[in-house]
């Protein structure tokens, strides 16, 4: 997944966690990058019309950004389900986060051919636990 999509997904999820705009600090923590890197990428996403940013408040995805963020989240869910259900990986959350930057959307779509995903994916994603709701039920 490319870097821009990872940021869009993070903004989208942090917005849900904070019930409002995603702050630079929260995004930097979540992505493991510096606040300066976050601001730089937010600027780029803003130029592309994918994010709105208000100083001292934070970033929010635009409707166009939301479409891409949901696609990125869906690909992330595919990865979690693939690791948990096909490869039997116990720490599927940790490994999905590690692998995410290397796994292209087309690869996720291909892996989707062998996993059983719920029709409401990715809306059922559990933001608090950063995991597919149904996988947690399997624990």
């Amino acid at each position: 997944m490319n870097t821009a999509d990872q940021y869009l997904k993070a903004i989208y999820l942090v917005e849900q966690l904070e019930d409002g705009p995603a702050s630079t600090g929260a995004l930097a923590d979540r992505l493991g990058v510096s606040p300066a890197s976050v601001n730089e990428m937010i600027g780029k996403l803003q130029e592309r019309g994918l994010v709105e940013h208000e100083k001292y408040k934070g970033a929010e995805v635009t409707p166009e950004g939301k479409v891409l963020a949901e696609e990125a989240l869906q690909n992330y869910c595919i990865l979690e389900r693939f690791l948990a259900n096909v490869l039997d990986v116990e720490d599927y959350r940790g490994e999905a986060r590690q692998m995410e930057p290397v796994i292209d959307d087309t690869v996720a779509e291909r892996l989707d051919m062998i996993i059983d995903r719920e029709p409401d994916c990715p809306d059922c994603f559990d933001v608090e636990n950063d995991a597919c709701t149904y996988l947690e039920g399997d624990d």
């Binding site: 870097t3 990872q6 940021y7 979540r30 992505l31 493991g32 990058v33 693939f82 690791l83 096909v86 490869l87 990986v89 490994e95 986060r97 590690q98 692998m99 995410e100 930057p101 290397v102 796994i103 292209d104 087309t106 690869v107 779509e109 291909r110 892996l111 051919m113 062998i114 996993i115 059983d116």
Partner: protein, 162 residues
């Protein structure tokens, strides 16, 4: 987490190689399924040999990946397991000639992209893996080149049909 595409441990490398093995197995299993489900009227020598070669090539790539996994002391992914999952989720809706070719093209392109990204992620890493880096990269580059040839072969057949 990190937003950078970089392989940072033996464990992460092994897991990504397992993903590569699964992608090969999906191509191989779907090629077998396509071959079996293609209607009689849609069959000809060219598509039969294309599917056969695709399955053989994927099996050969899988073996090379399995050797790397073995050297990393990681488990291979059983073909039978992936074949069963492919069968479970397989839709026969797209099994006309063009649908089969498109799926093969998609499978080869995806594998090509995966190896290209994996090579970049290994090259971007400074990790000292327990297997030698150069033979690893050489294997991945050879498999990537074969995938590119596979893409060309399918694309050529599609052009001839157009």
């Amino acid at each position: 987490m990190s937003v950078t595409a970089r392989v940072e441990s033996d464990g992460q490398l092994a897991r990504l190689l397992q993903v590569g093995a699964v992608l090969e197995e999906v191509v191989e299993a779907r090629a077998h399924r396509h071959y079996r489900s293609l209607p009689e009227g849609e069959r000809d020598e060219r598509i039969e040999s294309l599917l056969e070669e695709a399955a053989e090539e994927s099996a050969a790539h899988r073996e090379r990946i399995d050797e790397l996994l073995d050297a990393l002391d990681a488990d291979p992914i059983a073909f039978e397991q992936i074949e069963a999952l492919v069968t479970e989720q397989y839709s026969e809706a797209d099994t006309d000639f063009d649908g089969v070719l498109y799926d093969q093209l998609n499978g080869e392109e995806t594998a090509y992209k995966f190896y290209a990204d994996l090579i970049e992620a290994v090259e971007a890493s400074e990790t000292d893996f327990s297997i030698d880096r150069e033979p690893l990269l050489e294997t991945l580059r050879e498999i990537k080149a074969a995938e590119a040839e596979g893409v060309e072969a399918v694309a050529k057949l599609m052009e001839e049909r157009a």
